[in-house]
Amino acid sequence: MSRPREKYPLPRGLFVGVHTTFLVLIAIIVLVPLASIFVGTFQDGNDVIRNGISFDVDLAALSFDNYVMLFTDSGLYFRWFLNSFLLTAAQVAGTLLVSSFVAYGFAMYDFKGRNVGFIAVLLLMTVPFEMMMLPMYVMVNDLGLADTYIVVVLPFLAAAVTIFFFRQYFLGVPKELLEAGRVDGVTEFGIFFKLVLPISKPAVAAMAILNGMIIWNNFLWPLLVLRSAEKFTLPIGLNTLLTPYANNYELLIIGAFFSLIPILVLFLLFQRFFVAGMTAGALKG
């Protein structure tokens, strides 16, 4: 029997052509919003706010003025950029450390309460933060801890999704490694830090990227906690520029565009880790 022929509704060459054209068209449509804000960075801010962004622009009116302004006279913008950068770095490091630590407990030991504890992890994985917004906001105000970075970070160090991901990874680590460590007189914590964590680099990389992206873009909780302008992160700072009374719409537009750059660079360098981290939860069944 001959190899079954693939059935195509059109002659094969034409079919491939239609297929490719369609996909490229979709990709272009998806990139249009980013391209249009990019065009907006060369325009007058008040014009853009009044008339919207589009590709129908007067080429003679385009200028680099906004770029000059960004680097010479952009007020707190780079302060916010630095705040976001440092906060993201610190929170990613803390989240990876604490969450992998917790995940190790769930993955490697049999103990009373493990199932209940792990079901709590699964529940927290899907509960949207919006549900906790008010209770946590009230608590922070009562404790007088508003406007501090520690409160922005602390509730999210033991992050459910990250715990889940590390636990799945640790389940694949051979138990003989742990036994060998115990025979050599390494403590239980030493086994985690010195033997297991060093061989978990792929999991650490995927989670660093995922958390980095989430935390860099984090908006709601920092918006509720941070009050003084010099402590703002980028998303919150940009949001304050979007008011009817603002006088610096150029900074809003070019600042929004510029805030994308670190994440885009990271994505171009580490694309496969992004996808691995994002799709981790979907395949658990």
């Binding site: 706010i49 608590m139 239980e188 873009n217 994505f267 996808v275 979907a282």
Partner: protein
């Protein structure tokens, strides 16, 4: 002390302690207080018990029902858009035809919107859906002969803008989920089907869709939560929590207005409890239906 570091019986409790502390301190405790507060009138830190008054106020509150309606409408529409469309795109990307380089470019492009913060995405879409004739979307519909629309001032056009924003940000992520799910389906299924003479379309509905069940369950779940708890997309698109006739107000938006903007903590807590009950009902139903509880118990 030294002995404790070596104890395999105690070690797990040390390992999971940060999670337990977080769960109790940052989730359970505030949540419990919030439930109590929903039965109180809270004025400048003084709380008086008023029983179910807040809930009675809630039931009679038109704006509350409007916000609940908006949240559910948004959730249903995103489910109808953000599952079939990404599944179709994933299916046509995940074929053997076409150049892998072009397909990788398409995949990367689809994913890029997911990297933007809701703030940046909201700013971009607000400007694209500007109400003058020179805004991008009005130019697009103008090309098809339609006059300019005042997008964010009317209910349905505003909803279209909101859904466009949601589609833009989440299509790519869902496509990745479906591609990952499709790649886990054994190739032999398709070979056997094509020997039996099944067409590509039949193969998609008889093999791909049923085998994607775990992915479908996951994507549905996160879409239900994301839809019901949607707030920031609307908050950014309308440049704040106020929209004409509250057309963009969601349940969480109402919670934010009452609790954070108006400091009516007792009443806002009651709104929060409604949201909590809605979400936990769905959550527990979902975990029971997918057998997660059983799986964890028998491990």
């Amino acid at each position: 002390m030294k002995k404790m570091l070596y104890s395999q019986r105690l070690a797990p409790y040390f390992f999971i302690a940060p999670f337990v502390i977080t769960l109790l301190g940052f989730w359970m405790l505030p949540l419990g207080r919030s439930i109590i507060m929903s039965a109180q009138e809270v004025l400048y830190g003084d709380a008086t018990f008023i029983g179910a008054d807040n809930y009675q106020r809630l039931v009679r509150d038109r704006v509350f029902w409007k916000s609940l309606f908006n949240s559910i409408r948004y959730m249903v529409l995103t489910l109808m858009l953000l599952i079939p469309v990404p599944m179709f795109l994933a299916a046509i990307i995940n074929t053997r035809i076409g150049s892998p380089r072009i397909k990788n470019f398409v995949k990367a492009s689809l994913f890029v919107p997911a990297l933007t913060s809701v703030v940046v995405a909201g700013i971009i879409f607000r400007l694209m859906f500007a109400e003058t004739g020179s805004g991008l979307m009005n130019q697009v519909i103008g090309f098809f002969g339609h006059g300019p629309v005042r997008w964010l001032r009317q209910d349905i056009p505003g909803l279209v803008a909101l859904l466009a924003l949601a589609m833009w940000r989440y299509t790519g992520v869902n496509v990745m989920y479906f591609i990952a799910g499709m790649q886990a389906i054994p190739e032999d299924y398709y070979e056997a089907a094509s020997i039996d003479g099944a067409s590509k379309i039949q193969q998609f509905f008889r093999i791909t869709v049923p085998n994607l069940k775990p992915t479908l369950v996951y994507v549905t779940t996160i879409s239900v939560y994301g839809g019901l708890a949607m707030f920031l997309e609307s908050f950014m698109l309308y440049a704040g929590n106020n929209s004409p006739n509250n057309q963009g107000l969601t349940l969480v938006g109402y919670l934010y207005r009452k609790g954070i903007q108006e400091n009516d903590l007792g009443f806002a807590s009651a709104v929060g409890v409604v949201l909590l009950v809605l979400i936990m009902t769905i959550n527990i139903t979902h975990l029971t239906l997918t057998g997660t509880f059983k799986k964890e118990e028998s491990r």
